[in-house]
């Protein structure tokens, strides 16, 4: 298999894109425009990289993971699309990039879930007061599940060709219940995070404030910044009534 070298380099590039997104955010390498362009440089076809990256970028312009929501993975889409579209096969590239991006959506839920391992190890290190072990975990492992969840599919697809992507897509299309199950799971898992947050806040002492926030969002569709401002006003009035005029 002559593609192993390229497969490895592109897998490393996919990993770096993920790392840049999670950490430094130096060049937003996960944006399809950047991911596709650099892939074009790697495979020696800059024009295809620009075309695939630019096309996917315009499709994904407003697509960001607000609050940890899962969106199609146009990063992997741009990398695979550029690889399979090189040498003037733009149509093939795009036709492959989009199902690849959608396939990876499921993987994203999985890696965001599996990462709970780190937070539980961290709890243990904290109880031991072992900040050195925590630091090593962060530096060496904390980006690994996420990074490999993109690097491995890129490696396999480039090494074993488009047949793999197509048959996987066909499998998931034939079994839509898998996607549905994963999508619902991804939607409700953040409930635990909020529950843990509520547990450390004085919910039972001040339930009214929780209700105000909920009503503002659910019935009046107030954006979060608006909720925060109204919340600040309520809290200031509360303190004004509690402590009197002097000092807020």
């Amino acid at each position: 298999m002559g593609n192993f070298g390229t497969a490895l380099i592109l897998a490393i590039w996919a990993y770096l894109c993920v790392f840049d997104m999670l950490g430094p955010t130096f060049i937003l390498a996960y944006r399809p425009l950047i991911a596709g362009f650099v892939t074009g440089l790697i495979v020696g076809d800059i024009q295809t990289g620009l075309l695939i990256g630019g096309t996917l970028e315009l499709m994904a312009l407003g697509v960001y993971t607000y609050g940890g929501a899962t969106v199609p993975d146009f990063t992997v889409g741009a990398i695979l699309g550029t690889f399979f579209g090189k040498g003037g096969n733009f149509e093939t590239g795009i036709a492959l990039a989009i199902p690849a991006a959608l396939l990876l959506t499921q993987v994203d839920v999985l890696n965001r879930f599996l990462n709970f391992i780190f937070v539980h190890r961290a709890d243990r290190y904290a109880e031991e007061g072992n900040d050195k072990a925590f630091d090593s975990m962060m530096v060496i492992f904390s980006h690994m599940i996420w990074g490999l969840s993109r690097a491995l599919p890129v490696f396999l697809a480039v090494a074993f060709g488009e047949g793999l992507v197509n048959s996987l897509t066909a499998f998931f299309n034939a079994n839509p219940w898998i996607n549905k199950g994963i999508a619902v799971t991804g939607g409700i898992l953040p409930a635990l995070g909020f529950a843990m947050l509520l547990k450390i806040m004085p919910v039972e002492k001040y339930p009214a404030f929780l209700l105000i926030g909920f009503a503002l969002f659910a019935y009046m569709k107030v954006p979060l910044v608006g909720i925060a401002l109204i919340g600040l006003a309520f809290a200031l009035v509360f303190q004004y009534l509690k402590y009197g005029k002097k000092e807020a």
Partner: protein, 272 residues
Amino acid sequence: MAEKLTRADLMKSFWRYIFLFQCGWNYERMQSVGYAYAILPIIKKTHPDPDDFKEAFLTNLNFFNTNPVVGAPLIIGAHIALEEAGASYETTEGLKVGLMGPLAGIGDTVVWALYNSIIFSIGASMALAGNAFGPVLAAILVFFPYLAVRYWQFMWAYEQGSNLIHAFGSGAIEKITELATLVGLIVVGGFAPSIVRLTTPLAYNAQTTINGEVAQTSVAIQAQLDAILPYMLPVLTTFVCYWLLKKGWSPVKVILALVVVGFLGGALGIFG
């Protein structure tokens, strides 16, 4: 008393934030480990007693999520100032919880929706015209402004935080804590239903008689739930989790329950 913080401590915290802030992001506590990693060298200095340090370490592993570019550095900077002033956990956690929601809203709008959309649509249209400078320009317009805006927020919040604490007495800190907690509760009340997603596609057939004619209509259960209480299912899910945690369930057990219910519910078409 705790040691005084130096500029080197600040920079250490800043670079730790820059390099690994969202690594380890997970559904359970989101940016929690990244936050702890950034603040750790600071709390190690402000909590010299080993048992104190353990407690501070654990406290900073609580749920945290905000915009990583506009928001997070501001909160870390202000938190460092509070740490230096010897603030309590209630104060520092109140600051984090109170600011993370609103700043996520501001940051996501300004950074993702506005700034990025502009520079990336310019970059993409140049790329489509075959101009390799398109992606390069977009990358440059990310690199310098992002780094500058993160550094500036971090330092500004640290300096303002110290001034704030010095300007008021210690009584003010309690009031600020209470204020931040109350704002935090209101924000969480709106934040939770905006992020937790759960709907049902189920429907049932109902017979209605209109003008003597019997008509079959399909009634969507979701629409009826929305009429009773919008976001009822996400709210219920969150409260069931809260109740299970209060009952002493470990978070891992709750996660497993959510995975089973979510996957089966989605696969069987009850939810989705």
